[in-house]
Amino acid sequence: MPPRPDAVNLNELLARIAKSAGLALIVGVLILIFVYGAQGFTSKFNLFNLTRNLSVAAVVGFGMMVVLALGHMNLALGSTALASVMIMGWVMKVAALPVPVAVGCGLAVGSLLGLLNGWLIVKTKLHSFIITLATASMFLGLVLIMFPGGPISDLPREFTGISKTRYFGWVSGMLLITLVAGVVLAVMYRFTTLGRQMLATGANPDAAELSGIPVSRAILLAHTLSGFLAALAGVMFTARQGSALLSTGEDWLLASFLAPLLGGTLLAGGYVSVVGAFLGAMLVGILQNGLVLIGVPDFWVEFVLGLTLLITVSLDRLRNVLAARRGN
């Protein structure tokens, strides 16, 4: 006799928690290793720096996660962030408008560029990979044309102050921004029509369409959100650097995939884990930070991160194959 149909399946709930718990455990072990093995890891300066980087990396991960939910990608995350912060910097410094207005402009630019990606994908019906690969270059090129003078430095203290706040002497205040973004996203996916529509679209776009879901709208909004989050990460990064740099976002690509995929978000779409993406960003951030502290050369850090991504997607694939074999 099957149990009451409304009983929440305990197994499923536990499996869900276990998914993040496993990752949390790995992060914990990694922390322990570096606490004992890496000199200076626990210094207030290092931890502050780590949490600051982490808060940016997690938002970058969220930016990719929201399009992975559709089974899409956004290779233009980095150049979207770049375009956003350069324009923000220009508004702040050259046009000398108030900081909140400038930040608003930056975020708006990011959102618009994301919307453009979504619109192109919906209209051409081409894969997001190729569309965002193209727009990534276009955005980058345009920025370089528009800002031949290079970076915009000496941004007002009022702005850079965002990155200087700290709690307990070592926790970056920017983590708050990341947490708010994470909570909003988690609520969206679990408790709103829009989030459910995005996930349904990702899991099976044809079935979603035939069920009366506004699939195109879901795609447009997800990419807009991705652009917004890219801009947000860019703003946080810029606050930390004190200048709007032309190198903004150039090395984000790997980590942007790694964080959500480590956290259990499916590459194929239809399932996301916000907590997982945050933990994934933690793992990447701590790994980078710790390895550098124990004297591992940069190239090797890069190698390790690439390897981690490969192992993550392979394990995910293996899990699927095994599940299919068990008939699950």
Binding site: N9, T193, L199, N204, A208, L210, S211, R326
Partner: protein, 508 residues
């Protein structure tokens, strides 16, 4: 050589929360066609997947030619001489017919593919099956039926001594069924052991020698000669009670205003001048051969494809439907797809999400907030009413049996309170009990005032269920027949409509 080609005993398979197979047994002799029957969820697929090495059994033993074997992968099973044709297509669309047939055994010469030899062997297997197909044609250009026969040819080319056919006749015409059967008889004579899975009992009685029936994962009868059984006996074994395909009873003729009307409708896909109407609360049946354009018309009606001419009237007013959303939200129109896996359902998501998808916009509060609890509250009634067997509403839909999935795909449109419901092949791949249940449900829904358009290639089904029949052929309506529910009379009229239309075309 023993007199048993394949034997399986005590086969048990436990999935999380479900005992799919419970000490099942089966024996295949060389030169027999053995029917494996059972309702959806009875364990047939699981048994087949064990025999073909897709699943490892929790318990149980498999013998091939008297030797105990353990299959670690489908390849092991193939090597042991077990060929299988699954329900799902396993062809590569862009490859040619010859390449597909020889996929597992590509002939080579000095390390290079020997295309001449490949073609020669492929031609041999095609001629064996009496198939008139050009081996150089890409598979994507073939009809569904040809693809089905091609898969059988491929299984044979591996020189299988045991051949598993999972619903091989589901999508082919009567003539092709006969071609297939005469070929199976030839294989029988050559000593191949054939396991034949089908829901069509007529076919089982025509071709099979012995029968094994599964019910709830257990053997209801094992290796019984077909001569010891009659149709009712088989059905009784399958459902565990006599006469489960109960008479639908009587239904009064519908006397209500017209709900839906099509005037000279043409579509982007090629329909032209389609005229028909359906009353409120009427069950309108759509019959036609595969490719007649019924599903395509349905898709155009619900806004998934373009209507290029004519008028669609709903409640007497012209309806402008440019998306499925329009159809659902403005005109309360829904479509149950024939392709549950492809575009009907989201198998990776929960039962609740799959039903809720059509009503999220309705049950949401504060401009878009839907919790799992709210959703469960809205969908639970439908799961109960349709007797969907699931451990919980949060269960992943893909874990349910085909029949239960089908109930879910109907439930999601009932939840949406549709006034016009199009059901495409409501009982394909569904067991007898669920089939009878779905037929009754269609009447119940119509009784409540919903206009139901049923598309079916199953003539007995359409004659039993529909109030009126629309016959389609080559993208056109060729018959609009009141249904007397007398099968012999109606089947004749239907075929006359189709043949008559073709004759007319030829003489023109």
């Amino acid at each position: 050589m023993t007199d048993v080609a394949l034997k399986i005993e005590n086969a048990t398979k436990r999935f999380p929360g479900v005992l799919a197979l419970d000490h099942a047994a089966l024996e295949l002799r060389p030169g027999e066609v053995h029917a494996l029957l059972g309702e959806n969820g009875a364990g047939k697929s699981t048994l087949i997947k064990i025999i073909t090495g897709v699943h490892e059994p929790t318990e149980g033993t498999v013998w091939v030619d008297g030797e105990e074997v353990t299959f670690k992968s489908p390849h092991d099973a193939m090597d042991a001489g077990i060929g299988a044709v699954h329900q799902e297509r396993n062809l590569i669309p862009r490859f040619t017919v010859a390449e597909n047939i020889m996929l597992e055994a590509v002939p080579t010469k000095r390390g290079q593919v020997d295309y001449a030899e490949m073609r020669r062997q492929a031609e041999y297997w095609l001629s064996e099956l009496d198939l008139d197909i050009d081996p150089d044609l890409p598979v994507q250009r073939l009809s569904v039926a040809q693809m089905q026969l091609l898969e059988i040819a491929r299984a044979l080319s591996l020189k299988s001594r045991v051949l598993l056919l999972d619903e091989p006749t589901a999508s082919i015409t009567e003539h092709e069924v006969q071609v297939l059967f005469s070929f199976l008889r030839k294989l029988k004579a050559q000593g191949v052991a054939i396991l034949f899975v089908s829901h069509k009992l007529e076919e089982v009685f025509e071709i099979c020698d012995r029968v094994t029936v599964l019910r709830d994962g257990k053997n209801a009868c094992t290796n019984v000669p077909i001569s010891d059984l009659n149709r009712d006996g088989v059905v009784a074994h399958m459902v565990g009670r006599d006469n489960a395909l109960s008479d639908l009873g009587h239904r009064a003729p519908v006397d209500a205003p017209t709900k839906l009307e099509l005037k000279d409708v043409s579509t982007r896909i090629g329909h032209s001048n389609v005229n028909l109407h359906a009353k409120k609360g009427e069950v309108l049946g759509f019959y036609g051969l595969v490719g007649a354009g019924r599903s395509e018309l349905a898709r155009a009606l619900i806004g998934a494809d373009k209507i290029t001419g004519g008028q669609v009237l709903i409640d007497g007013k012209e309806a402008k439907i440019s998306s499925v959303q329009d159809a659902l939200r403005k005109y309360q129109m829904g479509y149950v797809s024939e392709d549950r896996k492809g575009d009907g359902l989201i198998l990776a998501h929960s039962v609740a999400d799959n039903i809720g998808v059509t009503i999220w916009h309705k049950i949401a509060k504060f401009g878009g907030f839907v919790t799992d609890t709210m959703q469960r509250k809205s969908v639970r009634g439908f799961v109960d009413r349709l007797e969907v067997k699931t451990p919980s509403l949060q269960q992943t839909l893909g874990n349910l049996s085909g029949g239960n999935q089908q109930k879910v795909s109907v439930a999601k449109w009932l939840a949406a309170e549709t006034e016009i419901l199009i059901i495409d092949e409501p009982t394909v791949g569904v067991d007898i009990r669920t089939k009878g249940y779905l037929h009754k449900l269609i009447w119940e829904v119509a009784e409540a005032g919903v206009t139901v358009l049923v598309i079916s290639s199953d003539m007995p089904e359409i004659v039993a269920v529909a109030d009126r029949l629309i016959v389609m052929n080559e993208m056109q309506v060729v018959g609009d027949l009141p249904n007397s529910r007398d099968y012999d009379e109606m089947s004749q009229k239907i075929m006359q409509s189709i043949v008559g239309a073709s004759d007319l075309k030829e003489s023109a």
